[in-house]
Symmetry: C2
């Protein structure tokens, strides 16, 4: 099979997920090294957690929450990714996710730049990415028409698209963020990056 | 500070924890590379989970359980550690933990060999390590007097020792298995081994 025949890999994440952010900063580069494209799928972890009876790491017990906040920052340093602990966490991400899918329907590369912008706004610049204005500003800085996007955020089609993506994610076995699927093999967590790379390099181990 | 002055690192685990087993197969070697000893502390995760309102990965939601079972085996292959999925999981580990502390009070190195024996009995040979007979047999194979150990498993002193170890673990911030503490820095999970190694090599990052 030539490199161009290789199937893309899937990358599910929530825009409020610290480990999703860490993986977003390197997944494309790692995949490209093995001739793979990555399909990005922002989802709403709140919906997934409600369906599976789970909760964010920082809203579980206090000991685990304290550890998790420490591990977010240490893992970022370990992966050499800029990281400032956000003052709002977790926070709703449906506006950012809807904007992503609307942009994606027009320009994949633009949607990718937007996703990086949203993640860095939250985890580097401590912006409130739950606010429509912040989402519109991030997009406008990439040349997107602000009014068109504002209208799209309220459109039934985009709301339905995000809902469908969350449903498909759960059907694919997603229970947290980030979640990567390579030729049917699931990997949960930014800390599975070394296994992801080995899987891509060897075709399975 | 010379290497001999470096403080030992602490390693907490439950004998039924797959990721605890994976880390047990390499933590001593990694620590030794940086002039460190490791203090092993078997604990009872059931008690910790009851205190923190948590549960084993395979008893959470079905999707996460399915993934976890797959990840146990894949992570073992990734780390090059022999692993056969146990037919009993999770299972009670107080007999194995009590035996460890009794042996440790007499001979640290023997207790370490016993711990490896218990883990391999469960995760390689699919033995029922919850049964006192299995625990006694593993110890007897290392030259331990079976009757003395059988008596020790029922002694109030050993029961109290294990209880105290679980309490101390929780006070140290342990909420799962494996958990490693290096000079005050906590690391949760076998997948933190690369960070553990970098921390040992650099003194913090």
């Amino acid at each position: 099979m030539s490199e161009t025949d290789k199937a893309p890999i899937d990358f599910w994440f929530d825009f409020s997920s610290p480990y999703g952010y860490l993986l977003s900063e390197c997944i494309d580069e790692v995949a490209a090294r093995y001739g793979r494209k990555v399909r990005w799928h922002p989802i709403l972890l709140g919906v997934v957690f409600q369906a599976t009876g789970s909760a964010p790491l920082t809203l579980q017990n206090a000991t685990k929450a304290t550890y998790s906040v420490r591990d977010f920052a240490r893992s970022a340093r370990y992966m050499d990714v800029p990281y400032n602990p956000p003052s709002r966490f977790p926070l709703p991400t449906q506006n950012a996710a809807r904007a992503f899918y609307w942009l994606h329907s027009q320009d994949c590369a633009l949607a990718r730049r937007f996703a990086h912008g949203v993640y860095r706004a939250l985890f580097v610049d401590d912006r409130d990415i739950s606010a429509p204005d912040t989402v519109l500003e991030i997009a406008a800085n990439l040349g997107v028409d602000r009014n068109s996007l504002a209208a799209a955020l309220q459109s039934p089609e985009i709301k339905a698209r995000l809902k469908a993506e969350v449903e498909q994610a759960m059907q694919a076995g997603v229970f947290g963020s980030p979640h990567v699927l390579i030729d049917g093999e699931p990997f949960f967590g930014a800390d599975r990056l070394p296994q992801i790379e080995k899987w891509l390099a060897t075709g399975g181990f």
